[in-house]
């Protein structure tokens, strides 16, 4: 999937992946896609909750080898 910006949140625990995602989205334009890679299994539910509450769209989420990859489209 194409993306405009990437955030490496590997090794970080709650709430840092969410806080850094929020920061990364801040200077992006509407419709642009942010890729986030995390190793925190808690970030799976948290990212869904973040998307739901902020209106940014969670386009896809996948897991491979203990890494969680999210694509978020900015509202």
């Amino acid at each position: 999937m194409n993306f405009d910006k990437e955030l490496d949140a590997r090794g970080l625990s709650c709430p840092l992946p969410i806080l850094k995602t929020k920061k990364s989205l801040a200077d992006m334009g509407s419709g642009q896609v942010l890729k986030v890679v995390s190793t925190d299994c808690g970030s799976v539910k948290d990212m869904q909750a973040f998307a739901k509450q902020t209106g940014n769209e969670l386009v896809s989420q996948t897991e491979a080898g203990g890494e969680y990859t999210f694509f978020l489209a900015k509202k």
Binding site: L12, S13, C14, P15, L19, T21, K22, F50, T54
Partner: protein, 155 residues
């Protein structure tokens, strides 16, 4: 209008310092308007230097320990510092942010910190020991905001 959350932070130990800063920064990231009211021992978390905030296994039987430790041993000098050091290493290993960073993230996200004026006076704290981004107020100041919140927590 954005949702609101208020937290009352009353404790100044390493473990109990985390919930207000984690929930405050996260709520702010989710678009909440957040205020944290620091009172009694919670005031310690507003000091410029919070690197000496400690955790104690004493009177804290739920704290997981690498080996069972009788209370008599926990009382020994240096045990608190050792427990704090071990806890900080654990936090670091698991990628949990240091308190200083979470506090900074709260401030960056416009979380408002209010220090309880009464307890500042009671404990004879010097305001110059506190970070700059603090407002001072009393219970009524807090209630004005808390009365309109969607979430209000006591930590």
């Amino acid at each position: 209008m954005s949702k609101k959350m208020a937290i009352i932070a009353t404790k100044g130990t390493l473990d109990m310092a985390y919930p207000p800063f984690i929930l405050g920064s996260t709520a702010a990231a989710l678009g909440y308007d957040v205020q944290i009211f620091f009172t009694f021992y919670g005031l310690q978390l507003l000091r410029k230097d919070i690197s000496d905030v400690k955790i104690s296994p004493l009177a804290n039987p739920a704290m997981p320990m690498p080996i069972p430790m009788p209370v008599m041993v926990q009382m020994l000098p240096g045990m608190e510092s050792m427990a704090t050091m071990m806890m900080k290493e654990k936090l670091k290993k698991h990628g949990v942010a240091p308190l200083e960073q979470l506090r900074e993230l709260c401030l960056e996200a416009d979380v408002k910190f209010i220090a309880c004026q009464m307890t500042v006076d009671l404990f004879e704290f010097d305001k110059s020991d506190f970070i700059d981004n603090v407002e001072y107020g009393g219970a009524a100041t807090f209630m004005e905001f808390a009365g309109e919140t969607d979430i209000c927590l006591f930590v």
